[in-house]
């Protein structure tokens, strides 16, 4: 039987933070494997290391020990420039607080990753409009974040995360600031993207029930260690 190539793989991954003179071990010996097109949910209590793990997978932070491999490339060994390229094209991220630029319109926010990718302005506008249409926000494209609801802002964030066609979407508590109905809508959108486009989704959530409903695999962290890994479907 041939083994399926993993899109994300970690080996003995560890992260230690230094707060003042105190060392905090946020992650320890994390061995993880995510298959292409999977929808994986990472759950755990606050401070269990979920967001730290996601930041490491997203190339926003560097591990203290261990290896992270994404599509066969060791991102844990990349320099700052290479990591920027990885974030630009390899992975998309969305956050609990949406992290949209408040002074820019929805369309301009979606355009931002393409500016760093040196995409022509005309092409940028067209693609950003198409992407906003896919998340159902084309009519609201000229609105600034403050003029959009939480759910709409998260949709804009999803459009922005996917505009450079990454194969992986990392979602850090994307429903944390949303009501239950909107949370469900956002997760439905992620599940739709996962099923229709083969997008690999890694979702960090403390809402276990919701995570179980939409994901195919649940990983539980406790005190920075991988407590359990469970295939649901």
């Amino acid at each position: 039987m041939t083994s399926v190539p993993q899109i994300i793989k970690t080996n003995q991954l560890g992260k230690i933070y230094l707060t003042g003179r105190v060392q905090v071990e946020a992650l320890k010996d994390i061995n993880l494997a995510v298959a292409p097109g999977a929808f994986v949910a990472i759950t755990g209590a606050s401070g269990s290391g979920k967001s730290t793990l996601l930041n490491l997978l997203g190339g926003l932070d560097r591990p203290t020990s261990g290896v992270i491999e994404v599509k066969g490339k060791k991102i844990s060994e990349m320099n700052r420039e290479e990591l920027a390229l990885y974030r630009r094209f390899g992975v998309g991220m969305i956050f609990q607080s949406f992290n949209l630029i408040s002074s820019r319109t929805a369309l301009e926010n979606v355009e931002l990753p393409m500016i760093f990718a040196s995409t022509a302005k005309k092409d940028r506008k067209l693609r950003a409009g198409t992407m906003l249409d896919r998340v159902g926000l084309l009519p609201r494209r000229h609105h600034r974040p403050a003029e959009l609801s939480g759910g709409e802002q998260q949709r804009v964030a999803i459009a922005r995360a996917l505009i450079n066609n990454p194969q992986i979407l990392l979602a850090d508590e994307p429903t944390g600031n949303l009501d239950s109905r909107t949370s469900r809508e956002i997760l439905e959108l992620l599940a739709h993207l996962n099923q229709r486009q083969g997008l690999t989704v890694v979702l960090v959530s403390h809402e276990v029930a919701l995570a179980r409903e939409f994901s195919g695999e649940i990983i539980e962290l406790r005190d920075g260690r991988l407590e359990s890994q469970e295939n649901i479907r």
Partner: protein, 453 residues
């Protein structure tokens, strides 16, 4: 990222904080305005100087003096810092017609004329003034050396014509230049007359009566009026009354113009006190000078003095620029302050830009473009401010000068290199000011920035 994207991002970011951007740009504007106005003033003065030298053809002028210990006292102020180059042999060589012929033979020499001046009373109707009348050949009167405001130069060397300068016009209250053409002026000269002198009548002599002098009067027609002229330095023109040599020969006159001539006469070295040489080109000045010095004469070239003046102008430019640099230094602190404030305000935005793929270099460049945009706007506006201020100052100065009857003069000059250099300098200063903020922005940790509220 494309340059157009950097520009668009930086201008839209600056536009978001209009007042702060305006105040920062204004700081740069004042600094660059001061720099442009001050350097422009230095350049304007230098340009005026060069143009007046060129218009009088002084770069083609060389003055020769007789050598020897008393030589340098003739023709110009002995306290003058610029001394003629003395004959190294220290011998006395007479500057006579023979010497003039030898000078005329030298390559690069266009014309030679001796500096002949004699004291005389210049009379017009009831007014009279004591002047040193200078003898100028017709060919020199037609050169660029004499700039006529009205009339024409001498046609021949032996005509009874006279050229006067505006200063004499005023002294004799003759009216405007055009109206005096054709008017008659009397030149009353004094000459030795020993026939009237009785050596036995010493008491009368000591009382000032029966001096051995006689006065002769000659009438001249005003043919030309020249503008204002200076009497200092070693300009070939040292008077405001000029007659041609033919007429001068007919006038009996004292053979000296100052006390040193008498000493020279006693030493048996009486010749011309100075000889002016017109060169075909300033390039020949050095070789002609060397050859004349080898003959034993002392020389003085205006171009040497001009080079010294130019060095002084460089110092003046540097001092003026240094003063303006203080304003630019303060402006650069303003840029640093604005940019650091901008980083603090846009901390989470920097985190977002990094999260979506912005590299350290991209972030750095965004901030560099912002600071250089401030510099560019400050540079352009500073240039405009400097120009406006210079116009106002120029008007004020000329207003007061016009009251004293002096002609309009442009005191500021803005050569293209100064205009482009000022803008480039503003951008460079802004870029340097942006180094620290840009470095700081590039080093922002995206994880921390994304958590930042």
């Amino acid at each position: 990222m494309k340059i157009s994207d950097y520009l668009e991002l930086s201008f839209s970011n600056l536009w978001k904080r209009k007042l702060r951007t305006f105040l920062t740009v204004f700081g740069v504007t004042i600094g660059i305005g001061a720099l442009v106005a001050m350097v422009g003033f230095g350049k304007g003065m230098q340009k005026n100087m060069t143009e007046s030298f060129e218009s009088l053809d002084l770069f083609n002028s060389l003055t020769v003096f007789p050598s020897g210990p008393t030589s340098q006292r003739f023709g110009f102020d002995p306290d003058d810092q610029v001394k003629p180059e003395e004959n190294p042999k220290g011998q006395n060589v007479i500057l006579d017609d023979e010497a003039i012929k030898r000078f005329e033979m030298l390559e690069g020499v266009q014309s030679v004329f001796p500096e002949i001046r004699f004291p005389a009373l210049v009379k017009y109707k009831d007014a009279e003034e004591l002047r040193l009348v200078q003898v100028i050949p017709a060919r020199i009167a037609s050169s660029k050396l004499i700039k006529l405001e009205a009339g024409k130069p001498f046609g021949r060397d032996n005509e009874d014509s006279i050229i006067i300068a505006r200063s004499l016009l005023r002294s004799l209250k003759m009216g405007d230049p055009a109206s005096v053409l054709g008017q008659k002026i009397e030149i009353a000269s004094i000459a030795f007359d020993f026939t009237a002198f009785n050596p036995m009548d010493i008491p009368s002599f000591l009382q000032g009566n029966k001096l051995p002098f006689k006065k002769t009067t000659h009438e001249f027609t005003v043919i030309g009026v020249m503008g204002e002229m200076g009497f200092g330095g070693s300009s070939p023109l040292q008077s405001d009354v000029f007659i041609p040599p033919g007429s001068a020969q007919r006038i009996e006159k004292l053979p000296f113009t100052n006390i040193w001539d008498l000493f020279r006469a006693r030493q048996g070295t009486l010749g011309y006190s100075a000889v002016n040489i017109r060169l075909s080109s300033p390039r020949t000045a050095e070789s002609v000078k060397r050859q004349i010095q080898d003959m034993g004469f002392s020389t003085f070239a205006m171009i040497d003095q001009f080079n010294q003046i130019k060095t002084s102008f460089v110092y003046m430019d540097m001092i003026l620029a240094a003063v303006a640099m203080i304003a630019i230094f303060v402006a650069s602190l303003g840029i640093i302050n604005t940019m650091v404030m901008s980083i603090l305000e846009r901390y989470s935005e920097i985190g977002v830009m990094k999260a979506v793929g912005g590299s350290d270099r991209d972030i750095q460049k965004i901030f560099f473009f912002e600071s250089s945009s401030i510099g560019f706007m400050g540079g352009v506006l500073g240039l405009a401010l400097g120009w406006v201020v210079s116009r106002v100052i120029n008007r004020i100065i000329n207003f007061f000068l016009a009251k004293q009857g002096l002609p309009f003069l442009e005191y500021f000059s803005f050569p293209l290199w100064l205009c482009l250099g000022a803008i480039a300098f503003a951008i460079i200063v802004s870029l340097v000011s942006g180094i620290y903020p840009a470095y700081r922005a590039a080093k922002v940790d995206p994880v921390v920035a994304l958590r930042h509220d």
